[in-house]
Symmetry: none
Subunit: 215 residues, 4 copies
Amino acid sequence: MPREVRERQMIDAAVRVFARCGYSAASMDEIAELAGASKPLVYLYLNSKEELFGTCIRREAAALLGAVRSAVEPHSPADRRLWDGLRAFFAHTAAHPEGWAVLSCRARTHGEPFDRVVAELREEIVEVVVRLIEEAAEAAPGRAPLDGREVAGLAHALVGAAESLAAWANGPAGTVPSAGETAETLMNVAWVGLENLVSGRRWEAAAEAGPPSSV
Amino acid sequence: MPREVRERQMIDAAVRVFARCGYSAASMDEIAELAGASKPLVYLYLNSKEELFGTCIRREAAALLGAVRSAVEPHSPADRRLWDGLRAFFAHTAAHPEGWAVLSCRARTHGEPFDRVVAELREEIVEVVVRLIEEAAEAAPGRAPLDGREVAGLAHALVGAAESLAAWANGPAGTVPSAGETAETLMNVAWVGLENLVSGRRWEAAAEAGPPSSV
Amino acid sequence: MPREVRERQMIDAAVRVFARCGYSAASMDEIAELAGASKPLVYLYLNSKEELFGTCIRREAAALLGAVRSAVEPHSPADRRLWDGLRAFFAHTAAHPEGWAVLSCRARTHGEPFDRVVAELREEIVEVVVRLIEEAAEAAPGRAPLDGREVAGLAHALVGAAESLAAWANGPAGTVPSAGETAETLMNVAWVGLENLVSGRRWEAAAEAGPPSSV
Amino acid sequence: MPREVRERQMIDAAVRVFARCGYSAASMDEIAELAGASKPLVYLYLNSKEELFGTCIRREAAALLGAVRSAVEPHSPADRRLWDGLRAFFAHTAAHPEGWAVLSCRARTHGEPFDRVVAELREEIVEVVVRLIEEAAEAAPGRAPLDGREVAGLAHALVGAAESLAAWANGPAGTVPSAGETAETLMNVAWVGLENLVSGRRWEAAAEAGPPSSV
DNA sequence: GATGAATGAGAGTTCATTCAT
DNA sequence: GATGAATGAACTCTCATTCAT
């Protein structure tokens, strides 16, 4: 059996096991067995548990990013791009729940080099969203200037909402909404909220709210 | 030294270590040492690693829920309750980053009984948000009926956004916004978006979009 | 069983196994079994294979050096001191063949930190011998000046001869000479040779020997 | 590439690796790579690690013995033969430090069949020296009869001294004496000592020494 | 109530060795 | 003749856990 095929089988198996157990609790024995190969072969091809984990993360991150990117047409209007991206994101995470589990949770559990890969992936996505928001703001009729930090916060909120919805949508079968529905739900609250925001409509803490400084 | 004090020291230490390393990579040796007690004593009081982990999760979940609940006055208007709750949530996670790390990430890494505790905490919060949304919808002048599943989706999105912002706000110091700012950012987009939503304003996919069959 | 006792048993066992197999071929399992303890206990007390090996070497080196030192009276004449030292050396190596095997052969097999310990022990002994030779030269009636490098060479030769005799004397039982005999043999050739040397009598390569430069 | 050439390359590589790491720590992977051949080929030609090690030892032993033998002319006088043999020994060990390392140290580390090969080499050399000593004794003017066991001891001492000097002479460059110098140093003390010995001059333990019972 | 002493089980990793081609 | 692919066995080391005191 050619090396490349074997290697992919191993990485597939590793993603499955890492998704189920997390990094430390995953055992190389189990991965090797699931891959249908012996442990020494896994080490020959993938070198070490740590490196194997890194390979898994990078592969899944690239796959997710690729799926989102190829779903977005660069010349569409901002809302359409967000919509397409969200739909692709929900579709991909639903289709590859194990990969998504590794990225969204397992990878953050095992300090430094992997944190970073996932954090970079996240930042990349956040920046895309930031640009979308800025573009939407420019195109908006109103002229309320948006604070840079607030935009970053909005982007993080949007990404977090998407992640949360992905987890929810992958939940116990039966009530799972489709990728399209999920994307629509998010678009409805986020995009409409955004439009209002850039046109200056904001929520104001009631007078009696008291200074937030105390918290 | 009375048992309760010792026990709390142990749980404190355990939360710290679990937050730093995750469940499997945490070592009882380290926990015992950090707690300033001998290992047999830890076992005498807390029985096993698994049970200790469960105790940590439940304690931190109760603390977070308690903080949020006691910040919300039941008779305030819906928006005010959301605002207060969010502020308390961000303040508590910022003040107890290790507890939050255990809840938000570590606990999801170690299957079944712990998943469940965290999932239950999450559901509890989501349901609170669901009720807030429904209440807001009823109070709204428009009368667009909200689908139950959509409301659930919105609530999940809001909770996810809050979690994401909590992580962001606990990030590398320097650019970290305060709990108040973070809460405001989220309120601005979410509440305003919600108001529009319940009054019937929705985002519509452009006509020519058509669902790409492959996604 | 108190820790110190156990620890000594472990080191005893380790010396035995290292002497028989060398560093790499020795197995911690075997050492633990021979010591009558479980492997984790060995690690708890001695930390690692490498550290355990180092501990063995240092203990055996100190024992040998101590035996030789306490046999030599500092105010005896030079020849008497050499004689006493040699006898103690042969007696100790004969009484502790495993310790001597570790020092003389196994330790040189496992790069750097251990090479060094043994090399230092050897240098220490060589320097003692160097001083003996110099003292003997000063006391000698003749006045042939000894070259420093030649003295070092002589000392190394003497130490090597002693090592070789120790190995020989520990050989297959039956023909083994006693420590006293062995020491006497060496004294006879070395000390008498030395006396002649310092009084100027040297061996001269026959005329037809040709220049050593060609080799 | 003809088999013999390949085979020699492999043995060369093996000697290098064995010299550096010792038997157990040497890896067949490394040997194969250094030889520029694939591992199965090494096994095809040399059968196993153990056999390969034996082949290395025998080759190096034969080379050393050959170098010494061909340097000695059978009809020279005894001192000249010793001198020539020593010079050749030091020259060869200096020119082939890796071969000498394998013989002098690595081979003794891996029990039985290899011990024996090296021990036989040593015995062969010792016997040559024994004959030289006996011949010298016969030719000597004095008539002190030499004990057989003492002669064997002397020979072992001489060989050990030579080995020790070889190691010393191969030490850190800068102070290393040439083969000729090293040989001369040894001749000076050994031959002159021998001459005295056979003519009856012996070192006598001082009267008051008395054998310490404990040693 | 508290601990020093001890371990069974299992982790990641490496190695000498062999086929099928 | 030569090799890419593959493995059983063994190694060092760690951990959760339990007694005897």
